[in-house]
């Protein structure tokens, strides 16, 4: 009965490859997010998405793109992976219509680019 699930949990790949991380939530939430936790442990938002609006953090390289087939899924595609992309990526979601409602996070995907 996992609420927000991400796959894979670990991803090791070489520079230049293209990879995807999948995220699914069964909470009935309508807004989903991708966060990156860098080496200094800061959590930084990459994208916020609901069926009406995609908000992109302008500091995120356009090699990163979110893809949402439906309200329950928000996948993260990364093209031409670079060493600096190594980090832990967290998916999260929030319910509809609630201002500043707490985020529900997945358990993260540790991406290592070699």
């Amino acid at each position: 009965d996992t609420a927000v699930s991400q796959t894979p949990k670990y991803l090791v790949t070489q520079m230049g490859n293209d990879k995807s991380i999948k995220c699914e939530q069964n909470l009935g939430h309508d807004t989903m997010y991708w966060y990156k936790q860098d080496s200094k442990k800061f959590l930084k938002i990459m994208f916020s998405y609901n069926n009406k609006e995609l908000i992109i953090n302008e500091t995120v390289p356009n090699r990163f793109s979110p893809k949402s087939p439906d309200k329950a899924h928000l996948n993260l595609h990364i093209n031409s992976l670079e060493l600096g992309d190594s980090a832990v990526y967290f998916c999260a979601s929030t319910p509809p219509g609630q201002y500043n409602s707490p985020l529900h996070f997945g358990n993260g995907t540790r991406l290592t680019v070699t």
Binding site: V4, T31, Y33, K40, K41, F42, L43, K44, I45, S48, I55, F90, A92, T94, Y99, N100, S101, P102, L103, H104, F105, G106, N107, G108
Partner: protein, 112 residues
């Protein structure tokens, strides 16, 4: 430019005593503050929050205090239990979850 700062990377507290985790912010436009708890290999989980119109919010063993003039908030855990050992993140929001700014976290270790 860190708008939310948790200056203590780690904190060690004896079981049964009070744990106090601190967080400072610089942006006076922040109006909502949250604490999240994170265990290794898991995502952060929401713990407690406070709106800027309040100066205290309590939930069981957890109390958050907000001092707007000092731009400071703190999380008190009393009594501390072994299961409280985790990393605690402070986060501050202006207008929406998209604008949530996070601190770097404080690792709390509860000693038996």
């Amino acid at each position: 430019d860190q708008q939310v700062k948790q200056n203590s990377p780690s904190l060690s507290v004896q079981e049964g005593r009070i744990s106090i985790l601190n967080c400072d912010y610089t942006n006076s436009m922040f109006d909502y503050f949250l604490w999240y708890k994170k265990y290794p290999a898991e995502g952060p989980t929401f713990l407690i929050s406070i709106s800027s119109i309040k100066d205290k919010n309590e939930d069981g063993r957890f109390t958050v205090f907000l001092n707007k003039s000092a731009k400071h908030l703190s999380l008190h855990i009393v009594p501390s239990q072994p299961g409280d050992s985790a990393v605690y993140f402070c986060a501050a929001s202006g207008a929406s979850n998209y604008q949530l700014i996070w601190g770097a976290g404080t690792k709390l270790i509860i000693k038996p």
